[in-house]
């Protein structure tokens, strides 16, 4: 849950609006995959809260986007791949792909790895037969 109260957040309202719009442009919702966009209320709350850990870089990227002086929907091709917004893009990915609904749409259980862990098939060790047949490859010294 987001523990940040509005007055503690260092991002101005204008910056928050840009962050949310940009997040939704990077990862829009998809009815086909039944997933929300990154501007979804819960996901964006996570983004806003998590941005505090990397405030300077995120702020710098958002200021860059604001500085383009045109609607984000038009600036999006110019922004994509720009190093100035790389930290913000990383933040969006980190928060988006740990959302319950997104994880479930990918066939994942919405839980951390520990303590349940995961199943991995053992594999067919008879595949080693040609390697064994070839014999020693290390060098005498």
């Amino acid at each position: 849950m987001n523990q940040t109260i509005a007055t503690d957040n260092p991002f101005r309202v204008e910056e928050q609006d840009i962050m949310r719009e940009l997040a939704g442009l990077i990862v829009p919702d998809s009815p086909d995959y039944a997933v929300p966009g990154a501007d979804d209320e819960l996901i964006f709350a996570d983004i806003l809260h998590s941005a505090l850990a990397n405030e300077h870089e995120i702020k710098s990227g958002i200021e860059y986007a604001i500085g383009l002086d045109c609607p984000l929907s038009e600036a999006i091709t110019e922004l994509e791949g720009r190093p100035e917004v790389a930290a913000f893009v990383s933040l969006v990915m980190q928060c988006y792909y740990r959302d319950d609904r997104v994880m479930e749409s990918l066939g994942m259980e919405p839980r951390p790895p520990f303590p349940e862990g995961f199943e991995v098939e053992e594999g067919d060790w008879s595949m080693l037969e040609p390697v064994q047949r070839r014999g020693k490859i290390w060098r005498d010294a």
């Binding site: 792909y97 520990f114 199943e119 991995v120 020693k136 290390w138 060098r139 010294a141």
Partner: protein
Amino acid sequence: MGEAVNFEPADVLIIGAGASGATAAWNLAETKMRIVCLEQGDWTNPSEYPSSGRDWETRAQSDFSINPNRRAQPGDYPVNDADSPIKIANFNGVGGGTVLYAGHYPRFHPSDFRVKTLDGVGDDWPIDYATLEPFYAENDRITGVSGLSGDPAYPSKQSLMPPLPMGKSGQTLARGFNDLGWHWWPSDSAIATQPYAGRDKCINLGACLHGCAQGAKASTDITYWPEAIRAGVELRTWCRVKKIEVDDAGMASGVVYFDADGDEQFQPAHVVIMACNGVGTPRILLNSTSERFPDGIANTSGLVGKNLMLHPYASIQGIFEDELDGYRGPHDSIWSQEFYETGEDRDFLRGFTYEFVRGRGAVATALTGVHSGRIPWGAGHHAAYRRLFNRIAGMVSICEDLPEEHNTVTLDPHLTDVHGIPAPKMTYTISENSQKMLDFSIDRASEALRAAGALDLIVESPIAGGGWHLMGTARMGTDPARSVVNEWGRSHDVRNLFVVDGSVFVTSAGVNPTRTIQTLALYISDQIKKRLTNLFD
């Protein structure tokens, strides 16, 4: 109130509680000497490792990052790595780098100790594989190694536990190697595949690089340290060493350190053992200046901090049609040493290991895709993401790095840690031989991945953040003019000062060094035990 600190002279003072310090402490404990270990970090609680939380992939980039400059935790010190294309990776705390390593646990080969004789480059070690073999076996027993006996890339060695599962990823890649007639084998791993010495078995968390919450991965905080402490070793955390002092006879008299309160203390000792890795050890040695040793202690040869070796890595990943293991399972699965020994038909000397990479997490997949341009912003994002999710597998090539004196650890003239102690500066370039090896490894891996069915490839060379292996900066040898410590780890200059970490490596081999670092720590501490009556002669 905590227990009062005992500042009576220690018989043995070990600096650093990581892979080598823990091993040496355990081995010396049976002597009943008073052994004290100073560690600049603290214990880590496994229940707080990232894999216990939903944000585990985010924490892998922050408080559990492999890069101390990014992690910036209280136990860390900054490292200036601006003059190196490969950035520092380490962990400062009880267990050291073993807390964050993958658990890849190969041995060196016999040829790795005879590089000069066999290939005319680097130097030969003053010891050989046969000398270390019993210490490898002892370390394997304490650590608990999984794998499969009979690897044709090695002399015979016993496996203590069954190998980690191959999984879909391992089988897919193995098919490619079989098609080309190339070697592959289950990796030796410091990961328990069945209950072992009080540790539970691996449950495929997939987050080995950020601490194993299950306790299946053998980090020394849960292997050597509990036994060493039960045997009477004192481990003092939050103690950052500033310098080693010397007496009028030129012997180490003890160390000056900052304690948890930031107060400067002096711990006298009869023997000092350095176990701070290939960057931390030369940092302290170079900081330990005195009238007798104006260029740093143990540095008459001028070689402290020189010959830094890092193991340049390339990452070569394939994108496959079918779903593979993805986020499930440990990083380790199988390896290949097809190109390990020098080949006459190649334009470089020595060789490398391929370590297969099982897959990556959901966030890492997104970051890989977005930052490489494979996953677009906007409407195409979701379909493109799903073409990568659980469909990336491949390998890294770990290339033997040869010693070169211009690759160095020095003291930064400006940067310091929180206590004002000068920080280390890495100056490193990738040699022509290493670059050719990297390029060759990418070409051959690409062939293997295509043979395995990869549709596309993702290549990173060198892995910029991959300075995990820090070696060579206090090298071992019999000639005091060409080495820092002798053939059993004792400083040529200071007869009660020893080094047991990767700094003593003469050459780097083309494998992860931890198993050999710990084996050397056992070997050197065994030499100390055997020579107790005439240790300083």
